[in-house]
């Protein structure tokens, strides 16, 4: 392992039945690096993120963070290790307040050692939520509002804030801008690009190559569960990215990408 490797994914394999969603995928992320994870639908990006996040247990292979092996387990443990995740479908609780969403699963409670049967410290939770949103420069009018009553952009901002707020080492973002308008997309990208400056590395999944080129340092490309290439995230390598993603001739490949319906049914104008 190289000296500055923060996250090392070592020959991770995950099968669903006979189908290998991930086939011996290995790559590393250095400190303060923004790595984009690219690939067509079904290439295994989300599965890989879930493995790194500890939600899914890989069938084979290991994942190291700061040289320490990570096992699948409760999210609170990941959070304690400095890993934050923003899921594609946001994973928000519409019936809970903004503040509660931020802390769901690791609520501050009293007495602390009682954990799951302790009493939630609501005021502390509100105050911490307020300062967190302030730090991230996200404006949420009322932290007691149920998240279900907020607009799409606000919900997305909360999901991103929830993923990055407590991450000290690395943040995993699974298509954080897929459902957003231009302005909101800009806000999320601003949050993402702030992270390396605060010493946090990023793994970003996106279908939007312009966006990847704008914020990422390096691209890791998956196809049918295999890692097929790594290229620097520059305008010059745009064509190489597309070619690796679909595995065909660049021109034809590009056309296919254009026809590709996005996974979530949202229009994706930049492809």
């Amino acid at each position: 392992m190289s000296a500055d490797a923060l996250l090392q994914v070592d020959r991770v394999t995950k099968r669903f039945g006979n189908h290998a969603a991930l086939d011996a995928v290995s790559f590393t992320v250095r400190e303060r690096e923004v790595v984009a994870l690219l690939g067509d639908n079904g290439a295994g990006k989300s599965t890989l993120v879930k493995c790194i996040a500890g939600v899914t247990r890989p069938d084979e292979g290991r994942i190291y963070l700061d040289g320490e092996q990570m096992h699948a387990g409760p999210q609170a443990v990941r959070r304690a290790h400095g890993v934050g995740v923003v899921y594609q479908d946001l994973a928000l609780f519409d019936n809970l307040s903004v503040a509660e969403n931020l802390f769901a699963g690791s609520e501050p409670c009293w007495p602390r050692r009682l954990k799951s049967i302790g009493i939630v410290k609501k005021r502390a939770m509100l105050e911490e939520a307020r300062s967190t949103f302030q730090r991230l420069e996200v404006t949420i009018p009322n932290l007691k509002t149920p998240v279900g009553l907020l607009s799409g952009g606000q919900r997305q901002a909360i999901a991103v804030a929830k993923g990055i707020a407590f991450a000290q080492k690395i943040v995993l973002l699974d298509e954080p801008t897929a459902a957003l308008g231009l302005r909101e997309r800009g806000n999320v990208l601003r949050l993402v690009s702030q992270l390396p400056r605060n010493g946090v590395a990023v793994i970003l999944i996106s279908h939007n190559l312009e966006e990847v080129i704008a914020v990422a340092d390096r691209c890791v490309i998956l196809r049918q569960g295999k890692l097929v290439g790594e290229v620097p995230a520059t305008q010059a390598s745009h064509e190489a990215m597309v070619s690796l993603i679909v595995g065909g001739q660049p021109a034809l490949a590009d056309a296919q990408v254009r026809q590709q319906p996005p996974a979530n049914g949202q229009a994706n104008p930049n492809l």
Binding site: D89, N95, E107, S151, G152
Partner: protein, 380 residues
Amino acid sequence: MPARAEAEPAPGNGSLECTGSDGTGAPDAGAGQRRWRPLPPGGPGFSPHRQSIILSAALRLIAAGPLFVLACIWLVFAFLSPYFLTLSNLTNVLIQSSSVALLALGALVVVIVGSLDLSLGSTVGLCTIVGAVMFRDHPGLGWLVVPTVIGAGLAIGLVNSVVIVSMRIGNAFIVTLGMLYAVQSLSYVASGGTQVAGEPGYLLALANDKLAGIPGPVLLVLVAGGVLAFFLNRVVWGRWILAIGGSADAAGRVGIPVRKVLFSVYLIASFFAAVAGILVAGLNDAGAPDSGNSILLAIAAVVIGGARLTGGRGSVWATLAGAVILGTITNGLTLLSVSPNWTPFAIGAVLIAAVGLDTLRGNIEGRLRIRQAQIQAGGA
């Protein structure tokens, strides 16, 4: 009301404004006569911000709805019958509502995670029989009858949890329907098919005596409601129950032990059913196999209390108000000499009205979301 749903624009549809039908009319919560139409920027109408405040207020009113509805029903009956609004009659209403109220608390916990437990009704019956049989056959047991009865109730909940959660037979409706019959059968077996007269004296005292002027059943319901409300609102485990009701999938991903929490839910519900059984035993001074009907009344109380059957929303106090609404209807119609044959009709009508209120709430929530989006698009 005009067809609002058809006029509902999708969020982020640009500059849509909502105005009163006359363009200047005072804003009100009952937005039925308003129409949606696109307006140029800076056109007439209320600012999205003001609108969102008004809609928030309307939402809060609906959330407090069951208490409001209860007050209205009491007012109507007070006008119709001079006997209704007397202390003794209202006390009567509360005592008559108490067993359904306790059962509704149990049903509420299950409804919050988006499930149902139909077996709670016959659990009540089984608990009254266990109490009476223990008292008859082992009079020396004394207070130990209470933990035995609670244990019997929890055992039913345990079977539910094991079958639904551990064995992953996800259809709680069918499983608990099966348990409703199985538990009923157990009650008949334990009682020999008939009522078993006689319950321990302290259960009679609980049901019939007063403490500090408050009748025992009312006190029991208040204490049980207070405990459950505190648990659901302030305790981490209780918040997890709400979170799972909101999204079980998201709950799993933030590390909430979803299956453990779900396992506990059927146990908690059966605990409240057992407490209801203890109360019913005391009120009747007998153990009787329940026909299982009371659970439907309890679920009606939960729905009238504004809980959402798909999970994630439900309030203890509103549920209790729902139970008292049902008790009030029964009591009020009797006072008015309406044939008791009409009581289920009235209950059905209130139930359907409650669902209507919930639809209205969903509508207002949708509008509020659009307003928020407009504030964000225009302001930030």
